[in-house]
């Protein structure tokens, strides 16, 4: 009988400690934005992990022009943190060059070869997640990388 509470606790923890398979749900988990109507053709995957800073996500989707404004005005942070940073445009040369952290899990399933001269790069932190978003302004295809940080 004493095993029952233990087994229940383990089952309960296992039910919480998972990462959804649906890319739209993982996207929501990382950015705290539900039913984003500015994006379509969303593909992607990721992992929510303990320790939290080992979490990651990679997404391809297409967006409309309003998406860029919605990011730049985003302020729906998960929690108050000195490490939150509003989304802002940055020089594309600062977009990560080594993508192996994301691609080694995904075995070439996602498009990563974007011509940076055609792109804008938007980055921001919704603590603990860091978002690096590369948007090709010729066709509005997006490469969106998520990593996590440890406070």
């Amino acid at each position: 009988m004493r095993k029952i509470p233990f087994i229940s606790a383990v089952l309960f923890l296992c039910s919480c400690l998972h990462t959804p398979k649906d890319p739209s749900l993982i996207y929501e988990e990382f950015i705290n934005q539900k039913n984003n109507t500015n994006i379509s053709n969303l593909k992607g995957e990721g992992k929510l992990a303990i320790p939290n800073f080992m979490s990651w996500g990679i997404f391809n989707y297409t967006c409309n022009k309003s998406y860029i404004d919605s990011l730049l005005n985003f302020n729906d942070f998960f929690e108050e943190s000195e490490f939150n940073k509003t989304f802002e445009k940055d020089d594309t040369k600062y977009f990560p060059n080594d993508l192996s952290f994301w691609t080694e899990h995904t075995k070439g399933k996602y498009k990563i070869d974007f011509k940076r001269q055609n792109c804008i790069y938007i980055t921001g932190n919704n603590f603990p997640y860091i978002h690096e978003i590369l948007i090709d302004t010729t066709n509005y295809e997006v490469l969106h990388l998520v990593s996590a940080m440890r406070n």
Binding site: F12, C16, L17, E29, N32, K47, L48, A49, I50, P51, N52, F53, M54, S55, W56, F78, E79, E82, F83, D90, Y94, P96, D98, F101, W102, N125, P128, I130, S147, A148, M149, R150, N151
Partner: protein, 295 residues
Amino acid sequence: MSDNPWAKGGKYYPNWIEEDKEFFKQDAEYITGKRNIAPIREKNPMTDQWISDEELTAFDRIFGRIPRGNPYEWLVKIFEQLTGLQFPELPADIRLQADWNHMFLIWFFETMPSIDNAYWTNNSKIIFNDTSLYSIDPANSVSFSDINNKACIKHQFFKYADDKRPNPLKASFSFTGPDSGKQNYYSWVEWFVGSYSTHINWTKKDNGSYDITAKIDNTTSWYSGTRLPKTWQDKIRKTIGFEIKNLVDSAPRGETIKRNLPSIIVRTLEFWGVSIPSFGGNWEQEFYVKTNWEV
């Protein structure tokens, strides 16, 4: 059977002689490389029978999976199998002057040792002067001085032209998963401190270099290492009605276990004069960093 009970085969002949002979014979084969399995001969306490070759082979299969020598590696392997993630290798540091392992011990065992060029302001806060080795290491660390990584402080400093850069400049270092995976990139400074924010006061010198002074604040607690993802926190709150933010609760020094026990137990133990131990209580550090940068 021999008539002499003490001769070989006799009633009182000590059988261990034959067993020892067999043991040393196997041992000799083992040493010369003829056998793969060490000649262990023990009794199984459950059956009180000698352990058979089949059982030995089974044990070898089970224990052979554990990497020899380092239990940390074994734990990491289990963690990796459970989560499907590759856990980063911890740094093998030759770059540091201070003993950062000592810092972990001070935090975990909640001690207050005296440290050169540092002073305690109360039982949970220490200040390291800019001459302390514990401040010199952060000044030379990757997180502070890698100009090529946008997660690092020096990169953020030189992103600004001199006339656009505020003084002091607020900058923050992010200890991220991708960078933590680079072998021997971060040192124990970053693994101990994690992410941090700092205000940098700077003066440009005639030779074009910059004198830099900064203060790094850090609180070491269970929260930073065992934090649960926010969505998991939400699911737990919805299901059981109260919040669990991290696997191990953060608490002030002296109270980490006490805060997790029901108050009746705490009161009873205190009534009987039992002192409740505490491990890894919140510990604040201030590092005063001084350095000189060139582009």
